[in-house]
Amino acid sequence: MEAVANKELETDIEKKDEDNQDQTPSLGKEATIEGLLYVAGEDGIKAARIAETLDITLEDTCVYLENIKKRYRDDSFGIELVDYGGTYKFLTKREIAPYVQKLLDLTRSSNLSQSALETLAIIAYKQPITRVEIEDLRGVGCDMMLRKLLARGLIQESGRSQAPGRPILYEVTDEFMDSFKLESLSDLPILPDYSTDEESESLFSE
């Protein structure tokens, strides 16, 4: 049995070599993209890069990607395709998590502090924003917090403001988009609006 399988494998490889020579993989584009995504793993790939690799248009690539996404959404798959921050990657579905923990004997640990979350929220909605502006909104110094967030790759510097002293501006990164399941900044939850007096009663009601 095994020998037969090996033989088949060999002929497969030969076939693949031939294919490589005329640069036409016999698989469909969608399947090829699926394979690329599998290889890229957690790094993920941007749609533009896939289009470039397969030498197809960006529009076509997005159609293929949407197809794969739709296909994997089905309950018969344990993984799904996401494109948080415009980077496509395969992730296990959330429903798997309890079993993963059991299998590998894990306990959830790393979490972001309330201060970190608030700082990130302010930057995400107001970006690009300077440190002083963030501190004004939060009422506390943010120097260390910004450094921590920079080190975690959740925010990055994006040039300098025209204000006196030309302070550094900050914005969120693709890593932030991935960590908070955002496909684009327009996916941010809508900020609650308390400006009208009618709503004043609902504020703080528990």
Partner: protein, 241 residues
């Protein structure tokens, strides 16, 4: 009313004020700064009683609150008010509090998304080293944070590539400890002996080095004398005293 004060609970003075407003059922749009100021001060005093360190930001806001309060208590000069209109400092505070409340509320949604995302896992990039041409020079133009991120990723992968359960036992002995051990052993040994005898319980280079340093110390303290034999062995001899 006994009440546990914990500064960690609040992400800043604005957060504390929001808590106090809620606690005392104040109307944020028609804020009673006097009550808020008193409560705020009381809270800081309680923290002080508990010997908790109060961050300077809390004091800055306290100063602002007291300024509002004192302005409110002083009789207003109406002519001046009309003459030179400025934004009511109270309104400015209310605006800040509301802004803060907005971000606080929305950060809960962020927290939710973050936890959800943690439950989804990806595979590392496949091993493609076999396809790579090592002779290519790789030019990299990233910043130090990208480098840090990349290094973290490497460390994480390294951790993943190890067996799930590993036990590493490393025994570190200090020179001082070693001296004590050797001193104890000296009593039961011949007056002169080979250095090799002392290292027969050492399993690694570190042990040998520490033993050697310990012996040097003992020689310095004239507890031992030494002689290098023709066979390049170190012979040690106990001192008479």
């Amino acid at each position: 009313m006994a009440f546990e004060a914990n500064i960690e609970q609040f992400s800043g003075p604005l957060d504390l004020m929001l808590h106090l407003i809620r606690e005392n059922k104040l109307d944020i749009f028609d804020l009673d700064v006097v009550v808020l100021c008193d409560q705020y001060l009381e809270y800081l005093e309680k923290m002080q009683d508990l010997k908790l360190e109060i961050e300077s930001e809390y004091l800055v806001e306290l100063a602002t609150l007291i300024e509002y309060k004192s302005k409110k208590l002083l009789p207003k000069n109406s002519a001046e008010l009309e003459d030179d209109y400025k934004e009511d400092p109270k309104d400015a505070l209310v605006k800040r509090l509301i802004e803060h409340q907005k971000y606080k509320e929305v950060s809960l949604k962020f927290q939710e998304a973050y936890s959800e995302r943690l439950e989804q896992m990806a595979k590392p990039l496949s091993d493609v080293d076999n396809f790579r041409d090592d002779t290519d020079d790789v030019l990299y133009d990233g910043n130090s944070y990208e480098l840090l991120k990349a290094m973290n990723r490497i460390l994480r992968r390294l951790k993943l590539s190890r067996p799930v359960e590993t036990k590493l036992a490393k025994k570190e002995i200090s020179v001082d400890d070693r001296i004590l051990v050797i001193k104890a052993r000296l009593k039961d040994m011949n007056e002169s002996f080979d250095f090799d005898v002392l290292i027969d319980d050492c399993h690694d280079l570190q042990g040998v080095v520490v033993t050697f340093l310990a012996v040097l110390d003992l020689i310095k303290d004239s507890l031992l004398n030494f002689k290098i034999g023709e066979d390049d062995h170190i012979y040690l001899k106990r001192s008479v005293n």
